[in-house]
């Protein structure tokens, strides 16, 4: 290291072999002879679980989608005569026979209303699909994090047991 170990070369120490004076920690479970084992191999990637990300279903983007849809739906509903404010009472006009232009206008309006209704249905389906996907992704994310924790647990357990066996067999020098 910069201010400590860089100034100490390999010759400065290490863990030298040699006799153990009184009062030192004995190395138990080692045969008197035998070459030391190679050091344990370590993993090239971290085995620790990553922190769980915030739920996608509760994200700002999905929330905004719901809010905008509610606003659009509310505006359309308020514009419809069934839910709109009552119209002022006026004297009815005498019945007239509709002309050609009025008939065409009525047909176009009917067709446009149908298309608009279908668009709303598709948008609603999309929002429900996004909801479903977000919940499914959150569920899979939680499972991945659980799996990462399991991998860490497996690595820890196997590593402990293996190292214990290696030390008992002579292990490090």
């Amino acid at each position: 290291m910069g201010m400590t170990t860089s100034s100490r070369g390999a010759a400065a120490g290490g863990v030298p072999a040699g006799g153990v004076p009184a009062g030192e920690v004995p190395a138990e479970g080692r045969p008197a002879s035998g070459a030391p084992m190679a050091p344990p191999r370590l993993l090239s990637r971290p085995a620790a679980p990553a922190p769980l990300p915030p739920p996608l279903a509760q994200s700002e983007q999905v929330g905004t989608l719901h809010r905008r849809w509610a606003q659009l739906h509310g505006a359309a509903a308020s514009a419809s005569p069934a839910t709109g404010p009552p119209a002022p009472r006026v004297a009815p006009d005498p019945p007239r026979v509709p002309g050609v232009r009025a008939k065409v206008r009525a047909k176009v309006a009917t067709a446009a209303a149908g298309v608009q209704q279908a668009d709303r249905a598709v948008t609603g389906d999309l929002i429900r699909a996004v909801d479903l996907l977000a919940h499914r992704i959150d569920e899979i994310t939680a499972r991945v994090v659980d799996l990462e924790a399991l991998v860490q647990e497996v690595v820890d357990t196997v590593s402990e047991d293996l190292a214990r066996v290696q030390v008992a067999l002579g292990g490090p020098g």
Binding site: M3, T5, S7, R8, R45, S159, A163
Partner: protein
């Protein structure tokens, strides 16, 4: 440097310091020489000599004097290069530097030579032990050393550690050329494999790596001494694979923070182990056992108590000055007389 007046009752004592490692970052010999020169400056004038171009150079509290550059492959210029500099009470040299002992005879022919740590070599009046040895040893005088640590390092752990609670700190012994970030030193590989549920923080070549579950979780830089102190102060224990040759500075710092230490047998931190403040291990298998032994609260407490008792040897500058004064007064009385004309 012209030293400040000494403590009441302690007369001025002029001391020469010969240090080839003076000012070298990371050198324990240079660090120890500087600390002892600082303590000596409280007792009298201190002249520092080193293997540089002749002349003085500004160096903060001291103006070390060069006595000539050494030839390639040597630490000091040839014998006879420096002339006698004047009466000295004693000459302090690096404990393992035989050439410096010879040069000391040129600079101050009649002054006793005191080694700073290390071994007592021929020509030395005594060696100054930087850590107390167990009982008085002939030719050695225990003076201790002030190893400063910052108390605020205990306030909060290193920011880059992340959500790491309890961890074992390992200081590497590999040189920058021999180190490989992907492969930790062999003892660390065994520690990580044997204790996969624990965090192990390896500090090597200015970088720290956090290991758990047989894998490296993250790396970050250890740029300052404060960074290292924070790592040391919050560790469960410190394993120093290669303590410094004289006293194991990082081991002493760890002990001063109340963190138990594990050191190799025969290392520079042997004094800590003799004082009961560190566990000695003679190999990787013993290292694994020692780390497990530290799980027992009684063992860790025993080490901490012994470490706290060492504080008067490693953390009290006033006591260091008094012990050094005593050493200067007593040193050489049995082997050499103080220089003529010297009054203390």
């Amino acid at each position: 440097m012209t030293g400040s007046p000494g403590s009441p009752g302690v007369g001025p004592r002029r001391v020469a310091v010969l240090s080839a490692d003076w000012g070298m970052p990371g050198s324990e010999a240079g660090f120890a020489a500087r600390v002892l020169a600082g303590a000596a400056s409280r007792l009298g004038p201190v002249d520092v000599f080193g293997p540089w171009d002749p002349g003085r150079r500004a160096d903060g509290a001291f103006d070390p004097q060069g006595i000539g550059r050494p030839p390639p492959g040597r630490r000091w210029p040839p014998e006879g290069a420096p002339r006698e500099q004047g009466p000295y009470r004693a000459v302090l040299v690096d404990g393992n530097d035989a050439h410096a002992v010879t040069l000391a005879a040129s600079i101050a022919p009649r002054a006793p030579v005191l080694g700073i740590g290390g071994r007592t070599l021929a020509g030395m009046a005594a060696c100054l032990d930087l850590l107390p040895t167990s009982g008085p040893v002939a030719g050695r005088i225990a003076v201790g050393l002030q190893v400063p640590v910052h108390v605020l390092a205990s306030e909060r752990p290193h920011l880059e550690l992340g959500p790491v609670g309890d961890y074992l700190l390992v200081l590497s012994d590999r040189s920058p050329a021999a180190s490989d970030p992907a492969t930790p030193p062999e003892p660390v590989a065994w520690l990580v494999a044997r204790h996969p549920r624990r965090h192990t923080v390896l500090v090597e070549n200015g970088m720290a790596s956090v290991w758990r579950s047989r894998s490296c979780l993250r790396r970050f830089g250890v740029h300052t001494r404060m960074d290292l102190w924070r790592l040391v102060a919050h560790a469960r224990a410190t394993v120093d694979l290669g303590p410094g040759p004289l006293f194991g500075r990082e081991c002493v710092e760890s002990v001063r923070y109340g963190v138990p230490v594990v050191v190799p047998v025969g290392s520079g931190a042997e004094g800590l182990a003799q004082a009961g403040a560190a566990l000695r291990v003679d190999g990787t298998a013993a290292l694994l056992d020692a780390v497990e032994a530290l799980d027992e609260p009684a063992t860790a407490d025993r080490l901490r108590r012994a470490g706290a008792a060492l504080d008067r040897w490693t953390g009290e500058p006033v006591l260091l000055v008094h012990r050094l004064a005593e050493a200067l007064d007593n040193a050489g009385l049995s082997s050499r007389s103080p220089e003529p004309g010297w009054s203390s």
